[in-house]
Each structure stands twice: as C-alpha cells, then as structure tokens.
C-alpha cells in the first residue's frame, strides 16, 4: 500500500459566493509525480494554493503527511511552491535566495551551507551563486526557484505552471530534468499545467480538472485510452465523439448503431438494447479503404493536409446529419482530396466513454 502524503478531503472553495472548487477529494502518494491538468480557470491553481495554504479552504480538510493542516498558516506547512513567475527575491543573490527558507527556519550555518551547495549542484547552477536573479536567463531563474524549494527537504514540492514562461526547446529540456530530479530526490511533485503534452510526458498520474471538479484521475495512458467523460476525451488528444445506440445483443457481441444506419460489432459489456452511448474514435485508429468492407463508414475526403510523417484528413460522413471526422493516416498515397473512402476502426480500439476497463 502506498503512503498518502497529501489528502484533500471533500474540499470546496468559494470566492464571493462563486464556487471555484466543488467537493474535491484527492489522495496523493509519496514519491509520485502528479499533474493537475485543465483549461485555464478550472481551479487547478486554487487546489495547489489550498495545499500550500496560500488559499484557505471554504469547507473540507487538507492533510499533509497525516496531519490535518486545514487551519495551518503557509509558513508552517511542510510544502514548498515553485511559482509561475518564479518569485525570486530580486535584491538577493542566488545563494541568499536559496538560503532564505533555511534562514527563516534557523538552520545552523554549517548545515545550511552544505544543503545550499547540494541544491545548487542538483540544479546545475554552480558558479552562479553570487549573481542576482535579474542577471539570469529564464531557465536559470527556474533552476534557482527549484533549488530554493528543494533545499527545504520537505516531502512535497508544488509547481504552479512552472515551465509556462520558458521557450519550447528549454521547456522540453526542463521537463526531462524535472522528472529526473523528482525520481532522484524521491519527492512528491504536484504539478499544475494546462499543457497536455507536458502532463502526459512527465506524470505518473494526471488529474483532469474541469469547472472545479476532478473529472478523472488516472495514469496518462489510461486517461488517453479510457476517458471517463466526454470532457476528458475531448481535452486530451484529438478526438471524434459520436452518439451510438445498442441495436441488439447477441451473446459475446453487441451491435452498435452510429450515424445514419451504420452498425459496428463490438464486444458485449453488459449492454442492453437501445442503450445510448458516447463513442470515441481517435484519429489515428482509423483504417482507410477504397472499397466498401465490413463495418465500414463511407465518407468524402473534404480536406487533405500532408504533414510528412502523417497526413491529416477531414472526412465528411453521415447523410442525415453530416459530421466531419478527423483522421490521421501514415500512408499518404491511400487517397486524395474529394475521394470517397471507407473508414474502419479495429474493434478493440473503439472506446466507449465512461466505460469500466481493466488495467493494462
């Protein structure tokens, strides 16, 4: 059993009668890299600030390392935050910035010196100890902020959109470094971002947050392959979401009606006749044919973008209520614009949104 390091128990937050966070419960385990992911304004930063104590909860409880810290000031909570704009003290040297927390906690000078040196070494900032933050580049400032956080030796580090302000290349580098650092230190990182690529590459688990509630908390792979809600399916990756009805059930198989009168055969999962489902097709799961085959969806290629490795197609399907599907194929020669094509999806890659699944 994994050790819970941070627990939110039925936490809500209101600002001027507007509910920002609605009854969120969340267990975060020791040593994991968890990402709170969601569109801007979904409340992910508020959740982070409620853990650090910079925001008080309106109701519910916050536990850190088994202790109820709901009414504890941020000063006394054993967590540290890396702020979005880094919030380095501009009038202090790098060394003094990293030393700040140790000084506040009255750590003996010798020990402090050792810890600062170690932290600065970890973030590869040796030689910059006596510079001032405004003299450093964005990436270096980021490192100072991380050093200032990890030098405290707390078990949890909170990162608030910390890579947002960096340019793309640096961002990629820092993503890898951050992940390495987290493994190396065995610390719990709680990371807030709106960038799904970042979340997918770095996290052990992702919490998808929308309008103040957690829509899904899962591993990156599970979130991509088995979204629990249409919001998650839509927010992560490219998606085509269609309405489907179960036309009938025969033993192991169920018949799924989509679009006008297309029937796909899927594995029966306790379906009932006439049950309405949301069906997700990822663009890369489509196979494309020039002739009609079994369980295929006919469509017209409306748009064709050649993108080197992939070709991105927009295929118009459905007669009564036409829908444009996003399709990604690797073989560029299969079709061209204005062709009539037939799309199939392997049965195991059809995702029913919200359906229970087995761990892979």
């Amino acid at each position: 059993m994994k050790n819970v390091i941070v627990r939110l128990d039925n936490v809500s937050k209101k600002f001027d009668d507007k509910t920002i966070i609605k009854n969120v419960s969340l267990d975060i385990y020791e040593g994991e890299f968890i990402t709170l992911l969601g569109p801007s304004g979904c409340g992910k930063t508020t959740i982070l600030r409620m853990i650090s104590g910079l925001e008080r909860v309106t109701s519910g409880d916050v536990y850190i390392d088994g202790e109820n810290v709901t009414n504890v000031e941020p000063t006394d909570r054993p967590v540290n935050t890396i702020f979005q704009n880094f919030a380095l003290f501009p009038f202090m040297t790098v060394w003094d910035n990293v030393n700040f927390g140790l000084k506040m906690k009255k750590v003996p000078k010798e020990e402090a010196e050792k810890r600062i040196k170690k932290a600065i070494k970890l973030v590869k900032l040796e030689g910059f100890e006596h510079r001032y933050p405004p003299q450093l580049s964005g990436g270096q400032q980021q490192r100072v902020a991380i050093a200032r956080g990890i030098v405290m030796n707390h078990k949890v580090l909170l990162l608030d959109e910390s890579l947002c302000s960096l340019d793309l290349k640096l961002k990629r580098e820092m993503q890898i470094e951050l992940k390495k650092l987290q493994k190396q230190l065995g610390m719990t990182f709680i990371y807030v971002t709106h960038d799904q690529d970042e979340a997918l590459t770095m996290s052990d688990r992702i919490a998808i947050i929308n309008k103040g509630v957690i829509e899904q908390l899962d591993s990156p792979m599970a979130i991509y392959r088995h979204p629990k809600t249409t919001f998650v399916a839509d927010f992560i990756g490219e998606s085509n979401i269609l309405n489907g009805t179960i036309g009938g059930v025969v033993g192991e198989n169920a018949f799924l009606n989509i679009l006008d009168n297309i029937t796909l055969t899927i594995k029966n999962n306790h379906y009932k006749k006439d049950q309405i489902l949301k069906v997700l097709f990822r663009p890369e799961t489509f196979e494309i044919h020039n002739k009609e085959v079994k369980d295929s969806i006919p469509g017209l290629v409306k748009d064709y973008i050649y993108d080197g490795q992939f070709s991105k197609l927009e295929v118009l399907v459905g007669k009564k209520e036409p829908i444009t599907l996003k399709v990604t194929i690797t073989d560029a020669d299969l079709c061209k614009k204005d062709d009539t094509v037939f799309l199939t999806v392997p049965e195991e890659k059809i995702v029913i949104i919200g359906e229970e699944y087995e761990e892979e």
Binding site: D76, Q84, N85, F89, P90, G101, K105
Partner: protein
C-alpha cells in the same frame, strides 16, 4: 521640423515666463540680499558682507535648526510608521477597496491646509474634544497639553504631510510583486520577517521618496508651528518668516532661506547616492 520646434517653445512659453518671473528672479534677488547689510530701520544697505551667514552659526540659531530637524525627523518617522501598515493592509485587497481607502486619504487635502490646521485647535486645546472625551470617560483627570508645544507641531505636521508619505509608499508596495510575499510565507517567514526581508527592501525607494517629501516641507512649515505651537516654539520656518515680517531683517532672512535650500539640495544628493531615483520625485 523647425516649425515643430518653434511650436514646442510656444507651448512652453507660459511655463518659461512663470519660472523666470516668479521663481528664478526672486531667488536671485534673495541670494543677492543675503550678502547685503541691514540698517536699523529695516532697510537694506547694498554692501557686500558674509556676516548674515556667519550669524546662522550662532548657538541660538543652530539650536533652532537642530530642533527643526528633530521635529521634522520625528514627523517623518511617524508618517512612515503609519504609511507602511496601511499600504501593506491594502496589498491583497480588491481594486475597489483600495481606491476607496486611498480616496479617503486624499479627500481632506482638497480643503485648504490652513483651515484644517485651525480645525485641530478644536480637537487639541485644553477644553477641546479630545481632552473633554478623555476626562469625560475618566481616563485622565487633568487635561493633557496637546498643543502650544512640540507635540502639537508634530501632530499637525504628521497630519498635513501624511499623504506625501502614504502615496509613494503605497505606490511602491502596490507595484511590488505579491508573489514575493507569498514565496516568503511559503518558505517559512513570519509576518515581521516578510516585512523586514522582502517588503522593506523591495519598497525602499518609496520610503526614501516619501521621507524626502515629508522631511523637507516639515523643516519649513511655519504656519503649523504658528498655529499649533502658538508662537511659543520657534522652528526654522518661523525664524525666516519673522526675519521678513517682524524683525525686518531681510538680508538675514534671505541668508537662512539660502542655507535651507542648500540643505535641501544636500538631502536630495544624499537620496540619489543611497539609490533613490529622481523619477520617483517627479524628475529633476
């Protein structure tokens, strides 16, 4: 291009005339007078002398100068002590609360400061509002002497000059990145440490700026010491006023004025040296 330049001068013309006639010429005249002799009937004898400046270094006048500086310094410190908590209190408040409270600070200053100073007499005198209230509630038995002394002058100066301290400090504090305060708290800093280690160093220019704006006028505000000091307390502002109006020794009055201007310049120089920016004072 040339036409444009001419037009600029045209627009500046009123300011140039104003500065020239009402500031520069009188100042030169004062400088000139300060080197003249005085006759016993209050007239001037146009002969060069340094005696006016030497007189300033008399013990009596030096004490007045010292006392003025001390009163101004105390007033400045009190202003700073009031302004910081107020500005920090406003820091994380909503825009509406901020602008409302700042307006409250500013509104009294739409009234003439002389009238407002007279208003303080009603509050501070022996049978005034404050003494009556304190005696009425039984907190004290004998009225406190709140005016016609140094205390009265300091109260008056703090009251009159407070906005000149609040505004620069408030502006510096509100320009400050609030996440620095949060970061400090996050790293375990107590409220006092947050102030001492983060807010104060970040807003030091506002403090210098405000101190200058309070200290310099406080040295010279003769009407406050006239009204609330009751003419019993002499500060350098009264001294100058008296030389011109009562003692009719214009050359000596001029010399003290020039001396005061020199001190002001020295303070501004010092301010610049410590790292203050002239922009914060409105440029120089």
């Amino acid at each position: 291009m040339k036409k444009n330049k001419l037009f600029q001068y045209f627009l500046l013309f009123p300011v140039i005339i104003y500065s020239f006639l009402l500031i520069l010429i009188p100042l030169i005249y004062v400088l000139f007078l300060s080197f003249c002799k005085n006759d016993s009937y209050g007239g001037m004898i146009y002969e060069f002398t340094l005696s006016n400046y030497l007189t300033i270094f008399d013990f009596t006048y030096m004490m007045i100068l010292l006392k003025s500086a001390l009163i101004a310094l105390i007033a400045t410190l009190i202003c700073a002590f009031i302004s910081y908590p107020f500005s920090i209190f406003l820091m994380d408040k909503s825009e509406r609360t901020r602008s409302f409270l700042i307006k409250l600070v500013m509104i009294p200053f739409l009234t003439n400061s002389l009238i407002r100073t007279y208003g303080w007499i009603v509050l501070l005198r022996k049978n005034g509002v404050i003494n009556s209230a304190l005696i009425g509630t039984g907190i004290i038995s004998k009225p406190l002497s709140l005016m016609y002394n140094n205390l009265g002058i300091i109260i008056g100066m703090v009251y009159t000059l407070l906005p000149f301290m609040i505004l620069p400090i408030y502006s510096a504090v509100s320009k400050m990145d609030y996440s620095l305060v949060e970061a400090a708290k996050d790293l375990g800093a107590s409220k006092w440490k947050v102030f001492k280690e983060v807010i104060l160093p970040s807003t030091i220019s506002g403090l210098f700026n405000g101190s200058l704006m309070v200290f310099i006028p406080a040295i010279g505000y003769f009407f406050i010491s006239d009204i609330l000091g009751g003419g019993k307390v002499m500060i350098i502002g009264n001294l100058i006023k008296n030389q011109f109006l009562t003692a009719r020794n214009w050359p000596f009055g001029s010399a003290i004025s020039i001396f005061l201007i020199l001190i002001t310049f020295l303070l501004v120089k010092l301010y610049k040296k410590i790292g203050g920016k002239m922009d914060d004072l409105g440029g120089f």
